[in-house]
Amino acid sequence: MTKVSMTVNGKAASGEAEGRTLLSSFLREELGFTGTHVGCDTSQCGACVVHVNGVAVKSCTMLAVEAEGAEVATIEGQAAPDGTLNTIQQAFQDHHGLQCGFCTPGMVMSTAALLKENPKPSEQEIREYLEGNICRCTGYHNIVKAIMAASGQDVSAIAAE
């Protein structure tokens, strides 16, 4: 076991990890950030997406030790301190972009990364960007719609709700 320290959602956090401890396990089990989910073991589903030093990564495919000293952002840090949802979170709620909620943390974190590099993505760009985030509930319709809305695009022409 070694001590691993990082900043999670702006606050210092540290805990014990083995060499083989994944960042996702470290966040969930050692630090208690259970909002990051693990839905597969082949690095495809994206429920575990967090940001490390400002870029989206699959926390199930990174060792905790590799994040030593890093700035980590998780779903728990996305809303304002008073609980107000951020624009992306609010759009997901407004447009019913989630059902069971399990893939949602990864969807929100991937969306944040997308909008950072492409503030007004087209439908096709959104769909392609979500290649690494699998949702089994929504058929993606309302997720794509929510992301378009979160980026300030008019979604009223997309099938009504």
Partner: protein
């Protein structure tokens, strides 16, 4: 995963020394190795992290050659060679998914040489030079079948030098589940000829389709490929496609690559 020790060398020399130990293995971005470790299909005693080695980072372009540090993630390649080598940027920007592209590295991909990976096609078609801590290896001598390369035990891909073609294009037909290449064809036209590299298809891993190269070197147009086909024998077959289907796709994708490059 089995338990292992981790070392984070700051220099190539330290990394090479660490890899000299029994059952030590290099960890690039980990996007293939970590899932492999999770399935307990590998059991290194020590993992040597390459991500902290400054000399393996970064991209430079000079004299018509793009040089990419072995530890450079796909996402960085996609962004930084967009002007200098657009076909390579497009390829890098379509490996895995965005989060995978932020971790996975060109050196890791070439060292692993997955038969369905994209980078081997780019390296082979570009006539790249694979630079390691010990030597320089021409791409034509580097790839050696499925998951096998000319690398020696403990040898690290520190840089990849890719001559920039006059025009080039990569066509990837994805396997619907993994989104790896079911077949991928990279066509690169140089002043002295055309190189065509095919990934995803052959039982022997990435290969050059020499008949197509000959035809295209004389006449760089999709029509030049009319009537050319690849033997189904020797292609891979699985639940996603037969040998014949893969062979068929090679011809289709090569034409499309040429058409897109012209």
């Amino acid at each position: 995963m089995y338990e292992f020790d981790l070392v984070k060398p700051a220099t190539l020399t330290e990394a090479v020394a660490a890899l000299g130990e029994e059952d030590a293995q290099a960890l690039g971005g980990g996007q293939t190795l970590i899932p492999t470790l999770k399935q307990r299909l590998a059991s290194p005693s020590k993992l040597v992290l390459l991500s902290g080695i400054a000399e393996m980072q970064g991209i430079s372009v000079e004299a018509g050659v793009v040089s990419i540090g072995g530890a450079t993630p796909h996402g960085v390649v996609a962004a930084e060679v967009a002007q200098s080598y657009p076909a390579l940027a497009a390829l890098a920007g379509n490996i895995g998914d965005p989060a995978v592209r932020n971790r996975g590295t060109i050196g890791g991909s070439l060292a692993n040489n997955d038969p369905a990976a994209c980078y081997p096609a780019a390296a082979l078609a570009s006539g790249a030079t694979i630079v390691t801590n010990a030597r320089q290896i021409a791409a034509d001598d580097y790839f050696d079948g499925l998951f096998t390369t000319a690398l020696e035990e403990g040898e690290i891909v520190t840089q990849v030098r890719l001559p920039v073609p006059e025009v080039a294009n990569y066509q990837k037909f994805v396997q619907p589940a993994s989104r790896f290449a079911l077949v991928g064809v990279f066509v690169a036209k140089f002043a002295d000829g055309v190189r065509v590299a095919v990934t995803g298809a052959s039982e022997d891993g990435v290969f050059r389709w020499s008949e197509a190269e000959a035809a295209l070197s004389g006449n760089f147009s999709a029509e030049a490929l009319d009537g050319l086909s690849v033997e189904a024998e020797g292609m891979m077959a699985d639940i996603h496609g037969s040998k014949a289907y893969r062979a068929h796709l090679i011809a289709v994708l090569t034409k499309r690559a040429v058409a897109a490059a012209v």
